[in-house]
């Protein structure tokens, strides 16, 4: 009985000694896959004010809600659109647009709008002559309000029916970006 008690006491001491260890601090990963910000800069052809549509979620998926700007566009105007994707969590800020350009055949932006007669046309293309959407032309006509939805697909079927014309229906692939901006055309 005495030896059993000693044995048990020893085990308890060993257990306490072992459990007093703390797990080391984990190394915080470089979140290189993250895209925190999408900035769509619309510069009017000719005179007028440049419009910047931006979607920023600086702490990633969880945590605070993203900050989304609204767009005030002029009616009957043509804009040159430039897309920029950033990971602002990295130091220095990581430009993801370059990665997309490098893999242009595997990516495509799609633009859809509920605003009457608002049109977005591709002004760039990949090696195969299919559109990409980093550079675009946006044209407004009459006044109105609605939304502009921008989707970036990774590995879509760019040769599928209608995809080269900006129709997402047969594109497939997986969504890397899907943001919606409120648009007011005056």
């Amino acid at each position: 009985m005495k030896s059993t008690s000693i044995y048990l006491a020893g085990l308890v001491i060993a257990f306490i000694a072992l459990t007093s260890c703390e797990k080391d601090d984990p190394i915080i990963p470089h979140e290189e896959e993250l895209i925190t910000s999408l900035i769509y800069t619309l510069s009017p052809v000719g005179v007028g004010e440049t419009v910047v549509l931006s979607f920023k979620d600086l702490d990633g998926d969880n945590g605070n809600s993203p900050i989304i700007s609204k767009g005030l566009l002029k009616a009957n105007t043509r804009y040159t659109g430039a897309m920029e994707l950033l990971n602002e969590l990295e130091e220095p800020v990581h430009n993801i647009t370059d990665e997309i350009l490098e893999e242009a055949e595997d990516h495509q932006f799609f633009f859809t709008s509920t605003v009457n007669d608002l049109q977005v046309l591709y002004s760039d293309s990949d090696m195969n002559g299919n559109p990409l959407g980093i550079k675009t032309q946006l044209a407004t006509q009459g006044e109105g309000t609605g939304v502009l939805k921008i989707i970036l697909r990774h590995e879509p079927d760019k040769f599928a029916d209608g995809v080269a014309d900006g129709d997402i229906t047969n594109a497939g692939g997986e969504t890397d970006i899907e943001v919606i901006f409120e648009i007011d055309v005056q």
């Binding site: 085990l11 257990f15 072992l18 459990t19 260890c21 703390e22 797990k23 080391d24 601090d25 984990p26 190394i27 915080i28 990963p29 470089h30 979140e31 290189e32 896959e33 993250l34 895209i35 925190t36 910000s37 999408l38 979607f55 979620d57 600086l58 702490d59 990633g60 998926d61 969880n62 945590g63 605070n64 809600s65 993203p66 969590l89 990665e99 997309i100 490098e102 893999e103 595997d106 989707i151 697909r153 990774h154 590995e155 079927d157 497939g172 692939g173 997986e174 969504t175 890397d176 970006i177 899907e178 943001v179």
Partner: protein, 769 residues
């Protein structure tokens, strides 16, 4: 003594008068203690060739009917004795005397556990060598599906984890040779990393028996065990090969062994490779699998009192995940649900495995020492260490598909001491102490915030069980206590990123009673009642982020409390006549604070679009079910079997059904066996059918889409055995989904994207020498 032999003689007479056909033998025998000569009641007797068994009666006598050959392998086991396994041949007027040796040199615990289950129960709750051999192309979970009350939760053809009576994952520990299998049990897309061919016995245990193992169960456990090395002094072994048409898979297995008391060894290796599988109408692109496993078993008897053994195993696999199931956000999922054929479906076959894919390595080292104080008192000490390394790869930009999105490493150390001796008035006590340490780390190479944090887990547990035969009763009572401490180091959601620490302490308990009553030598009634509690796991507390495989954001809740369950079950196993055997059981489990993933009303807006949010919540739940199985011998060569399973899970707090519960099902099979036909020594032919009902017990808002429709699959199997000199040759051909039906299964997550597997023809050859 003589009177008993007279009884056996009477049995034989009776048998020969009722069953007079040739090749329809009745095997009788008596089981005794080798030293004392005392008869052993309730020992289980099994003829492995026919999966037939019996339990000895009060006088130690057993009777097995409808045996087609007078030479067979007889396995007799009983608590506290060495398992007796021998090739015996008898003539009609002769009975067998089996002398069991008290468990003094026996090392492996499986022999003890086997003795606690009656032969009839073992038939339905255990898978042996023979079946594993014919299902050699299947994963562990798929093999288990043939047991009543067991189904599997799948993520495509290569990933499956077992579900026993509605419980799985964190609630269903899998014990690999007595050691709780470590790994990432929390993910439904993580299958247990065990080679079923190395482990040649798989069983489901419950009740008091399960209490001697450490593992956070709520009742049931899956035991996977490598049998002790056969007492065969010459070099012997087994070689097997299979080919499967679906996925053009090939597999080889080689086992060699030699027994010598100074050092017995067994080595077992498996290689498997399979390419893209095929649904009824199209290829399932990127569903290949590669596997390479090796295991070494050693046994050494030092003297009458001490014996040692060791087990080393390494499991390595690479699994492709259906390319079309890799989705971005909610919109993508909705689009995928609309499609008949998944995106990225190639119209050609390939062995390539690309992202999304998983690579997993699992290594185990187990050392065991057993000491016998006397014939009835023993101590067993185990040390085991495991390393589990899991990497999951997603489709990424710029060739970073080679960088994993999930990279986890888990180290465990396990120490156990068990002690058993007779106490009081012929009760057997079994008690023990267990300590387990887990170190789980994320590798920051992923560039993604980890879904579950880094942690240490310390567990210390102790149990005691008492068992006794009282006349026609066999009683077992037991209790278990576990203390667990979790030391968690998580990374914050907010920026700047910082480390948040949690320390949790838990106490959990189990108490249970099992009683088995033998109304006659052919019928037994088993009643079981137990309570158990389980701590929340680290994933349930602190999961945080996008679970790519599920296409949703998963959030843990640090305020969860432990769940407690009470479960009762009654089983009746009876050989109603020599032609009809029935096994049935009903069970009911009530779980307080059942932890589950609840879809939230909130849709989380991210730059990749909207994602559904799932949060771990608690509710009171109940699971009730029934399983019934019957075997009917239509004639000496033809056997009909039927099986029906019913299960219903409810969330009582919210008055809604529980999700991810198996559908009800029934299956039937017809088996024809014939000896000495043409050049074949033994031939058997099986035609089977399995009908799975639609999971109707679910509300539309509980899932993204309606549960798949009911389906019916046909199967066919032809096996032939031949003895060529010292070599046993076993060959088989098996066809699954014979009619190439296109179907989807509720418990397969791939059902959102693609049909389940089409027809598969498997051919195999096994040589035992």
């Amino acid at each position: 003594m003589y009177s008993k032999f007279f009884l056996i003689f009477l049995f034989s007479l009776f048998a020969s008068s009722t069953v007079s056909q040739e090749c329809n033998h009745l095997i009788t025998g008596v089981v005794r203690d080798a030293q004392t000569g005392e008869e052993i009641p309730y020992a289980s007797v099994l003829i492995s060739e026919y999966s037939k068994g019996a339990v000895t009666n009060d006088a130690g006598i057993f009777v097995i009917s409808h045996v087609c050959d007078t030479s067979f392998t007889l396995t007799v086991s009983f608590l506290g004795y060495e398992v007796y396994e021998n090739l015996v041949s008898v003539s009609n007027d002769q009975s067998i005397v089996v002398e069991l040796i008290a468990d003094s040199k026996k090392i492996n615990d499986v022999t003890v556990t086997a003795g606690w289950l009656s032969a009839t129960e073992r038939l339905s709750q255990r898978i042996g060598d023979e079946q594993i051999q014919y299902d050699v192309n299947e994963s562990l979970a798929n093999m288990l599906e043939s047991l009543s009350g067991v189904s599997s939760l799948k993520s495509g053809g290569g990933i499956a984890k077992p579900v026993v009576q509605g419980l799985y994952g964190n609630r269903l520990p899998i014990l690999n040779n007595g050691v709780a299998q470590s790994g990432q049990q929390w993910g439904n897309d993580h299958s247990p990393e065990i080679d079923p061919i190395v482990a040649n016995t798989i069983s489901v245990i419950s009740g008091v028996h399960a209490m001697e193992y450490q593992g956070r169960s709520l009742g049931n456990m899956v035991l996977v065990e490598a049998k002790p090395i056969r007492r065969h002094h010459l070099l012997s072994g087994k070689a097997g090969y299979f080919f499967e048409s679906n996925g053009r898979g090939n597999g080889v297995n080689l086992a060699l062994q030699k027994y010598d008391p100074t050092l017995a060894w067994k080595v077992n290796g498996t290689l498997k490779k399979r390419g893209d599988q095929h649904a009824a109408d199209y290829y399932l692109t990127n569903t290949g699998i590669e596997e390479a496993n090796v295991a070494l078993q050693l046994e050494k008897v030092i003297n009458d009192r001490w014996s040692l053994d060791a087990m080393l195993s390494s499991f390595n696999t690479q699994i492709g995940v259906l390319r079309g199931s890799h989705i971005g956000n909610l919109t993508d999922l909705e689009e995928a649900l609309e499609r008949d054929v998944p995106f990225y479906t190639n119209d050609y076959f390939s062995y390539d495995i690309n992202a999304p894919r998983q690579t997993v390595a699992h290594h185990l080292v187990k050392l065991q020492a057993k000491y016998f104080k006397d014939d009835h008192t023993w101590v067993n000490i185990v040390y085991a260490t495991q390393l589990n390394n899991r990497k999951e790869y997603d489709v990424k930009r710029l060739g970073r598909s080679e960088v994993p999105s999930l990279s986890l490493q888990q180290f465990t150390h396990f120490i156990e001491a068990k002690y058993s001796r007779p106490v009081f008035n012929a009760w057997r006590l079994k008690t023990g102490l267990q300590f387990n340490f887990i170190d789980n780390s994320n590798d920051p190479e992923t560039g993604i915030l980890p879904l579950i944090p880094d942690y240490y887990s310390y567990e210390m547990g102790s149990f005691a069980t008492f068992s006794k035969h009282i006349k026609r009763w066999y009683l077992q009572i037991g209790g278990r206590y576990d203390y667990q401490m979790q030391n968690v180091a998580a990374i914050s959601n907010s920026i700047p990123r910082e480390i948040i620490r949690y320390n949790n302490h838990f106490h959990s308990y189990k108490i249970g009673i099992d009683s088995r009553y033998f109304t006659s030598s052919t019928t037994e009634i088993i009643g079981s009642l137990g309570i158990a509690s389980r701590n929340p796991e680290v994933n349930e507390f602190y999961s945080n982020g996008l679970h790519q495989g599920v296409g949703g954001i998963e959030e843990g809740d640090p305020d969860l409390v432990k769940e407690s369950a009470i479960k009762g079950s009654i089983s009746i196993n009876s050989a109603i006549s020599s032609k009809l055997q029935i096994e049935s059981s009903v069970y009911s489990q009530y779980i307080e604070d059942y932890i589950y993933l609840q879809p939230q009303d909130e849709i989380r807006l991210t730059i990749r679009g909207a994602f559904p949010v799932f949060k771990y919540e608690q509710a009171n739940a109940s699971i009730i079910g029934a399983d019934i199985m019957a075997h009917y011998h239509i004639s000496e060569n033809i056997k009909f079997s039927g099986q029906y399973s019913y299960l219903r899970g409810n969330n009582l707090s919210d008055d809604v059904p529980l999700i991810n519960m198996p559908s009800n099902s029934f299956s039937t099979s017809l088996r024809y066996t014939k000896e000495k036909i043409v050049f074949i020594d033994k031939l058997s032919l099986d035609i089977s059918q399995r009908y799975v009902y639609q999971q109707s017990h679910l509300l539309p808002e509980q899932d993204f889409t309606e549960p798949p429709e009911a389906y019916n699959l046909l199967g066919f199997q032809l096996t032939a055995q031949n003895q060529i000199k010292q070599m046993k040759v076993n060959s088989f051909i098996r066809v699954d989904n014979l009619l190439n039906v296109s179907y989807r299964d509720y418990l397969n997550r791939m059902r959102y994207f693609a049909d389940d597997l089409g027809m598969n023809v498997v051919i195999g050859l096994n040589l035992s020498f």
